[in-house]
Amino acid sequence: MTRTILGLMLAILGLAALAWMPTQLGAYGVGLLLGMTGYVALASAWALFSGPTRYVSLATVAFFGIGAYTVAVLSETLPYWAVLLVAAVIGLAVALIVGLATLRLAGVYFVIFTFGLAELIRQLVTWYEVNVTGTLGRYIFLPITAEQIYWQLLAVAAGTIAIGWLISRSRLGLALKVIGDDETVAGHTGINIAGVKLALFAVSATIITLVGAIQAPRWTYVEPAIVFNPTISFLTLIMALLGGANRLWGPALGAIPLFLLFEWLSANFPNHYSIILGLLFIAIVFVVPRGVLAGIEDGWARLKRRGEAA
C-alpha cells in the first residue's frame, strides 16, 4: 500500500517536471519532446492490446489517421474539445466494427489484415477527397501552440500508462494473462475471450485515435499520405517491442531512444532511412524478442540463481 502511494507520488512529481520542461527549451526542443511523447502514448496504447494478446497490429496508423482527419474536417465547425470527442467516438466505433470482424483471425492473418485496413482507409479517404470534395489536402488553422499539444499528449501518455497499471491489477488483467498462456484454459474457466480482446482493442484504438487528433494541428497541412503513413505503425510496433510490450513502462522506454535515433537518422540519412528501420526491426525481434526490460529481468534472475548456487 505504502509502496503504491510512494510510486504514485513519484509519478506525479515526474509528470510535473515533464510538464514544466517546455519552458526551458527552444522551439526545436519542444518539437522533439512533443514527438517523443506522442510515440510514448502510441507505443503504450499499442501495447495495451498487442502486449498481452500477442496480436501484432499494424492498424495503428489507421486510427491515428482517422483522428487527424477528423480534426482536419471538423476543426472549423466545432469547438476543439468537441472535435476531440467526435474523433474518439469515431475511433471507438471503427475499432468495435473492425474488432468484431477480425479478432477471430489468428497470427499472421491478423497482421496482414490490419496492415490492409490502414491502406484501405487511406485509399477511401483519398478517393473521397479527390472525387467528392475535389481536394487532396486540407489546412488546419487552430490557435494551438506546440506546448499545448505537448501537454495534451503528456496527459494522454500518462493516462494510458495509468490505464495499463489499473488493468494489470484487475480481473481483466488476470484474464489477459490467462488468455496469453492458454486460450483453451481461458475459455474453460469462464473467460469471454472475444469480449476481452475486443474491449482491449477498442481502448487501445481509441487512445491512438486521440493521439492522431491531438497531433493534427502540428502539421497545418494534412493529406492522406502524411497522416496514414505506414511508417507510423511500424515505428510504434518496434518501440513497444524494444522496451517490452508486456511491461508497464516498456513501450515508453523503447519509444524515447528510438524516437531520437529516428530523428537523427531521418536528418542525416534520409535516403536509407527505411532500410535502417527494417534492419533495426529484424535486430530487435531476434536479439530481444520479449523486450529489453524482460531481457534485463531474465539476466538478473540468472545472476541471482548463480549467486544462490555458489
Partner: protein, 242 residues
C-alpha cells in the same frame, strides 16, 4: 433420479473420420460414471464436446434439460461444467494460486482479492498442495500440476466435473489418495464423468460404466457387469475385428 447430463445421438466427424458415432447416454445427478474404451475410441472427443472445446457435428447435449451443444466453452463453464485435460494444461506464467484464482475470478459468482486468495488456498489444501500457492506453476512436478488442475476445476464449483485420465501416471500411493479425493467429491454430491484406463480406480469409484469402441458405444451398465461383458473384453484385447 433426474438426469443432469443427457447425450443423444452425438456425432463428431473429423473430415472423413467419424471419431464419435451416434453416442447416447445420461448421467444422473450425483452419479460418478466411467467412460472407457481403447485408445482412439473417441472418449476425449466426447468430453471435448461436452465442455465446448469442440462443436459436435450433430446430436444433443443437455445439462438439466438445457441444450448446450455447440456453445462456447465459457458459456458452458458458466452453466456448471468444469474439466481437467488428458495432457495437463497449466498456466505456466502464473503462480499456483493464480492458476486457481483464474477459475474463481471468472465463475458466475466470482471471487476477487482476499476472498479469492483464501478460497484458492483452501482448494489447494484440498488437493494436497496446501501452502504452495506462491510457487510457479511451471516448477511443479507433473503430478502436482495435475492436482493444481483439479483445484482449478473445483474452483468453478461445477455441477458436472469431467476428468480425462486424471489418475494416470500416479504411483500406487498417489493413486490411493487420488481415488479417495474423487470419492470425497462424490460423497459431497458432485456429478463426475471420468475417462480412465486404470480398472482399479474405475471399480472403486464408478457404479456405472459406459464403453466406447471406434466411436461407438458398445456397453453401458453397472461397472461389474460391463467389465465382464465379452464384447468389452474383446474390444480391449483388440479381437473385435472378427
Amino acid at each position: 433420479m433426474t438426469s443432469l447430463l443427457d447425450i443423444q445421438n452425438l456425432r463428431k466427424q473429423f473430415g472423413g473420420l467419424t471419431a464419435v458415432n451416434d453416442v447416447s447416454f445420461s448421467i444422473a445427478e450425483g452419479e460418478t460414471v466411467a467412460l472407457l474404451g481403447p485408445n482412439g475410441s473417441g472418449k476425449t472427443t466426447v468430453l471435448n464436446m461436452i465442455s465446448g472445446a469442440l462443436a459436435p457435428t450433430s446430436g444433443v447435449i443437455a445439462l438439466s434439460g438445457e441444450h448446450i451443444a455447440g456453445l462456447a466453452p465459457n458459456r458452458i463453464a458458466h452453466k456448471g461444467v468444469a474439466r481437467t485435460f488428458q495432457l495437463v494444461r497449466i498456466l505456466p506464467s502464473l503462480s499456483v494460486a493464480e492458476n486457481v484464482i483464474a477459475a474463481l475470478a471468472f465463475r458466475p459468482n466470482h471471487l476477487w482479492g482476499r476472498a479469492a486468495e483464501e478460497r484458492a488456498e483452501e482448494l489447494l489444501a484440498e488437493v494436497g498442495l496446501g501452502g504452495r500457492g506462491g510457487e510457479h506453476a511451471n516448477d511443479l512436478t507433473y503430478i502436482d500440476q495435475k492436482r493444481m488442475e483439479l483445484a482449478r476445476a473445483l474452483a468453478a464449483e461445477p455441477r458436472l466435473l469431467l476428468l480425462d485420465e486424471w489418475l494416470s501416471g500416479l504411483n500406487p500411493t498417489e493413486l490411493r489418495t487420488g481415488i479417495d479425493l474423487i470419492t470425497a467429491l462424490g460423497q459431497r454430491g458432485m456429478t463426475v464423468l471420468l475417462v480412465e484406463h486404470i480398472m482399479e480406480a474405475v471399480r472403486a469409484l464408478c457404479s456405472r460404466t459406459v464403453v466406447m469402441n471406434v466411436g461407438t458405444k458398445i456397453a453401458d451398465g453397472p461397472t461389474a457387469d460391463v467389465l465382464a461383458d465379452p464384447a468389452v473384453i474383446s474390444a480391449y484385447l483388440g479381437e473385435g475385428h472378427a
